[in-house]
């Protein structure tokens, strides 16, 4: 939100209403790392630049792959931890090893992806992977690979206060409520414009929307679609939207009747009016999906279009499939996402038109998971972040759609697809890799593995006084050195 006419106030502090509260005592392998990253405290060796779509240096100035499985990272020299201790290879290795040793390690940084981390000399960190992994720099950009000063690791767990390298140093926390930060006067990347900030943990979406409206918060993250219209009508607030790597999906159980039948899956795709759904339940804060990827992703196939509603054709396909319905199908709508109840009832209505009877049942995700993983369901409405681990869909493509995938909810299996993913796994060249992803995506779309409903958007609302806010759809960076506020 550039508004260059007013001068930034160097004493200003910014309040951010965040959707996440730290729950794991700041363990870096958990999502608490996101809070520290948003707060401008935690930094990583590399950084994924969302606009440039590539990995850039951060705490490491460069890296090189010395063999298939060995990477050396050259550390930046002028960095100090906020507590004044030296930022060196030993500290980095210790920090990363802590995450690797965790009982429940992070998805991007864990013993399966990284074998060991060691200090070669004061400024060089060596990372060894179990097998060839062209994506390692992406992994090191994950917030879970953040670096804290050795003093942060106490017997009582992690103490982030003044132990980061970022532009802001956490100074105090109100349990369950907020984290307060002050400017890091000695920040390695130059002057920090704000005097400090506060990250408020507000898990209720409507409350976050209200807080930015009342001016209690300067930035509210993850505004729910339902509040969008109100905030957009408020001229004191700018609403930022960006494609997020999340697609609301109607998962179809490919492993049992009726959706083991391709015709029926295709009929399901044709029956649903995705634009209407995006406009109503999602209040226009989502784009109708064209396939498994959002169009803005570099590996998305630009030729794919939003499936057209075609009731006649769908009916024919249902007939052709020979499916005789003896009892209504079941659509599980998970309670964690309130909008799915509405989505479910829309789907129910539209399925009716092509002669498929379905009932919506609401369940918590936890209650539904065992049956879904065991393949004992018809349809489930859920949603999944493709790039939460690293800014690359490989993990997602592997776990969610390969025959042996650990999170293959749709129980989809196609040998051609698996072959493509296998190739992508070891492909060092980025553009070739993206081509492979695109082809894999096309197979999924041709097979109508699921009905991809809408690509959700990340929506942040920002007060008028805030300057220099760059929205990160992956919700990693909010308080940055360039963020400023007018008085």
């Amino acid at each position: 939100t550039p508004s260059p006419d007013a001068a930034a106030d160097s004493e200003a502090r910014v309040v951010v209403a965040n959707f996440r509260a730290p729950v794991s005592n700041w363990a870096l392998e958990s999502d608490d790392a996101y809070v520290l990253s948003i707060a401008g405290c935690l930094e990583t060796l590399s950084k994924y630049d969302q606009t440039e779509k590539k990995v850039e240096p951060m705490l490491a100035t460069s890296w090189k792959q010395t063999s298939d499985t060995v990477w050396d990272f050259e550390l930046r020299k002028n960095v100090k931890f906020q507590d004044g201790t030296a930022f060196d290879a030993k500290a980095v290795a210790a920090s990363l090893n802590h995450v690797l040793e965790a009982t429940a390690p992070a998805r991007a940084v864990n013993p399966k992806t990284i074998k060991k981390v060691e200090a070669v000399d004061a400024d060089t960190v060596r990372v060894t992977t179990p097998s060839a992994d062209p994506l390692l720099p992406y992994r090191m950009a994950s917030v879970n690979a953040g670096v804290l000063s050795p003093a942060a690791y106490t017997d009582k767990g992690i103490d982030p206060m003044n132990h980061c390298t970022g532009p802001f140093a956490p100074v105090s926390e109100k349990a369950g409520q907020s984290l307060t930060l002050d400017r890091n006067e000695n920040y390695w990347d130059g002057e920090v414009k704000l005097a400090g900030g506060e990250i408020r943990y507000i898990t209720e979406g409507a409350t976050r929307a209200t807080q930015v409206q009342t001016g209690e918060a300067d930035i509210s993250m993850s505004i729910p679609a339902t509040s969008l219209a109100t905030l957009e009508a408020d001229d004191k607030i700018s609403v930022l939207k960006a494609d997020s790597p999340r697609t609301s999906t109607l998962y179809l159980n490919n492993s049992r009747a009726p959706f083991e039948n391709l015709d029926l899956r295709k009929a399901a795709t044709m029956a649903l009016d995705l634009p209407a759904m995006a406009a109503s339940v999602y209040e226009g804060a989502a784009q109708p999906a064209t396939g498994p990827f959002a169009p803005s992703e570099p590996w998305a196939n630009p030729d794919l279009a939003v499936p057209q509603v075609n009731i006649e054709e769908a009916k024919k396909l249902v007939e052709a499939s020979g499916y005789q319905q003896d009892k209504p199908l079941e659509i599980i709508a998970i309670t964690e996402r309130a909008e799915f109840a509405g989505v479910g009832s829309i789907i129910q209505e539209q399925f009716k038109q092509i002669g498929l009877q379905a009932n919506v049942v609401t369940k918590s995700y936890g209650a539904a998971e065992p049956d879904v993983l065991a393949g004992k369901y018809d349809m489930i409405l859920s949603q999944r972040n493709r790039m939460i681990d690293i800014a690359d869909p490989i993990g997602f493509l592997q776990s969610d759609y390969s025959c042996e995938g650990g999170y293959n909810l749709s129980h989809y299996c196609n040998k051609d697809y698996d072959l493509l993913v296998g190739q992508a796994l070891v492909e060092k060249d980025e553009s070739k890799r993206h081509d492979l992803y695109r082809k894999a995506g096309d197979i999924l779309a041709d097979d109508a593995a699921n009905v991809w409903l809408v690509n959700e958007q990340a929506i942040d609302a920002v007060g008028a006084k805030v300057q220099g806010y760059v929205q990160d759809p992956l919700t990693r960076y909010v308080l940055t050195k360039d963020l400023a506020k007018t008085s």
Binding site: V23, S24, N25, A27, E29, S30, D31, T103, A104, P105, A106, R107, K156, G157, K174, A175, G176, Q177, S178, R200, Y201, I202, T203, E204, A206, T207, T210, Q211, Q213, T214, G215, E216, S364, Y365, G366, A367, A368, E369, P370, L373, R384, N385, I388, S399, G406, Y407
Partner: protein, 317 residues
């Protein structure tokens, strides 16, 4: 003083209450569908399924796949030494989460009750001294209306007006006194109506009592009689109610805590049960139950000590 046996019974009752309620909470993950360990992991990391090895390792760390009674016995053993255990999500001592939350709830419930007491004394005395006339009828209607208000409809409405429209009060949070105004008001509504009626009937009764007549006869003005004799008596029924309500509010109103983003007890217990972080839920319930039983016990005690009728035991004939 209460006889020793009564105290003893209370203490035993408290013990049983703590045992039963913590066991009830403990049962939740065993009877609900889904794997509690996965639920714990999901609370730490947003999306996706954890692989089996991680689940096993995590369960191992906290002994979550041990037989149910073994787990409960272990919890009891630690609890007996005053240790409420370790949160399965954060790995930190449960006390570190429960104590701040009970602090928040105590101040929230406490303020709500103080407000309710103050308001209801004024309203109750006003309506009792004008029994049957319009102020009384107005107050009575108000008290009946107050309990019928669904707070989950009123709270968003008030936020809309006071925070969004008029910018008078914060919309959420728990830091400044101003942020307490709306939640305390909402929480106080129902107690206000119950307390007001209790004060009114108490004061009415006191007004009719012979000792107030006698006080007037020895020259006290009606105001003096009201202040010295009527009100102290009329408030007797109030105090027991306050105890009971205080106990009830300690569990916190989840609704108010959710709407106003207050990190109180009700929410902590609710969330930790949903996330299957049972030691936290158990710790919370134990603290709430203990506080509640102790508070009602103290109120009873004070009641028995302060009310001569109860103390000597009213005897007839």
């Amino acid at each position: 003083m209460l006889p020793l046996t009564t105290m003893l019974r209370r203490v035993l009752g408290l013990g049983a209450a703590v045992l039963l309620s913590s066991f009830a909470v403990f049962l939740v993950p065993f009877v609900s569908p889904g794997d509690p360990v996965r639920s714990l992991l999901r609370a730490r990391m947003d999306i996706g399924a954890a692989d089996e090895a991680t689940v096993q390792a995590y369960a191992q760390q906290f002994g979550l796949h041990d037989p149910m009674l073994v787990q409960f016995g272990r919890w009891l053993g630690r609890f007996a030494t005053g240790d409420m255990g370790i949160s399965h999500i954060s790995g930190t001592p449960v006390a570190d989460q429960v104590l701040p939350a009970i602090g928040v709830t105590l101040s929230l419930a406490g303020s709500a009750l103080v407000v309710a007491i103050a308001v209801s004394i004024v309203l109750g005395v006003l309506s009792a001294t004008r029994a049957g006339r319009w102020p009384d009828r107005l107050i009575t209607s108000i008290t009946h209306a107050l309990i019928a208000i669904p707070e989950y409809a009123l709270a968003p409405l008030l936020v809309l007006l006071f925070a969004v429209r008029w910018s008078l009060l914060p919309s959420a949070g728990f830091d400044s006194p101003a942020s307490l105004v709306l939640p305390v008001f909402i929480l106080a509504l129902r107690p206000i109506s119950f307390f007001t009626v209790a004060v009114r009937s108490g004061v009415c009764q006191a007004l009719d009592s012979e000792h107030v007549l006698a006080a007037r006869a020895r020259g006290l003005s009606s105001t003096q009689a009201l202040v010295r004799h009527v009100v102290p008596h009329g408030l007797l029924p109030l105090w027991t109610m306050v105890g009971v309500w205080f106990a009830g509010l300690l569990g916190g109103s989840v609704i108010v805590e959710v709407i106003f983003a207050i990190p109180g007890m009700g929410r902590l217990i609710f969330d930790s049960i949903v996330d299957a972080d049972i030691p936290v839920a158990q710790g919370g319930v134990v603290v709430v139950v203990t506080c509640a039983v102790v508070v009602t016990g103290i109120v009873d005690l004070v009641h028995k000590i302060s009310d001569p009728n109860v103390r000597i035991g009213v005897r007839h004939g």
